[in-house]
């Protein structure tokens, strides 16, 4: 039996890239072309976070029309599973005190997030046990 190695997109957390996220590989989930979109006079970590934020702000939708969207796929769930949903600079240091259930019913949180929206995030968004570790 042959085992196919899959790679995770470092921008959106898509876990089934056929090749490492580098050298012009395009992620079908967020559309990032590694080696193009993540090139600039900044660190990779900064660029990946910025690309992630942009994708999330646009609704975290499936990008590719060539690669079919997996059944039941959800961009926010994917970010949570990868521990990337709250990987925003302004959220670092936040202590999560309650709740372990993820809800998707407050999309406005993602439309204009920032320091002033922290209360909204706490009120409407709950963290899964996995994402708590990411904070």
């Amino acid at each position: 039996m042959q085992v196919r190695i899959m790679y995770q997109c470092t921008v959106c957390g898509y876990p089934k890239l056929k090749y490492p996220p580098e050298d012009h590989v395009i992620c079908p989930s967020c559309g990032t072309q590694f080696g193009l979109d993540d090139e600039g006079p900044y660190s990779k970590a900064f660029l990946h976070r910025d690309l992630r934020d942009r994708w999330r702000k646009k609704g975290a939708n499936w990008y590719s029309r060539v690669v079919p969207m997996p059944l039941g796929w959800n961009g926010y769930n994917q970010l949570i599973n990868a521990g990337l949903l709250f990987d925003a600079e302004w959220l670092h240091g936040v202590v999560v005190t309650s709740s372990v259930t993820y809800r998707e019913d407050s999309p406005t949180v993602y439309d204009d997030y920032g320091p002033n929206r922290l209360a909204v995030v706490r009120e409407k968004h709950c963290l899964s046990p996995m994402s708590i570790g990411a904070l």
Binding site: Q2, R4, I5, K18, Y19, P20, E22, D23, H24, V25, I26, P28, G31, Q33, G35, L36, D37, E39, G40, P41, Y42, L47, S64, R65, V66, V67
Partner: protein, 110 residues
Amino acid sequence: MYDWVPCHLILLTASTYLEHFERHGADFGASTPEEYEELADTFMYGELLSSTKECTRPRPSPRTICRYSAETEEYGVKREQGYLVTYFIPVPLVTHRFATNLEYYRHKCK
């Protein structure tokens, strides 16, 4: 088709080829993948014009060859063995974060 090639060989397989067409076909007004491929072939395998720069990147392995035209702003990458990787027109500060495409090209050729 090439699903089980060694992982260090990133080829334009049937799916990745379509992904690159999907992403960059519009850069050239290509309406079909075949049209995109033809344009890419012409740029990457055609004669090296005076306005076009070419470099061989030492990394990743296997080595890749980049071409950039300062005149048309076309940019392409192929493997040293000849496989085409990608072909597009970069947009400064949008598709990459450098101020010019020449900076991007130079960065990629380091």
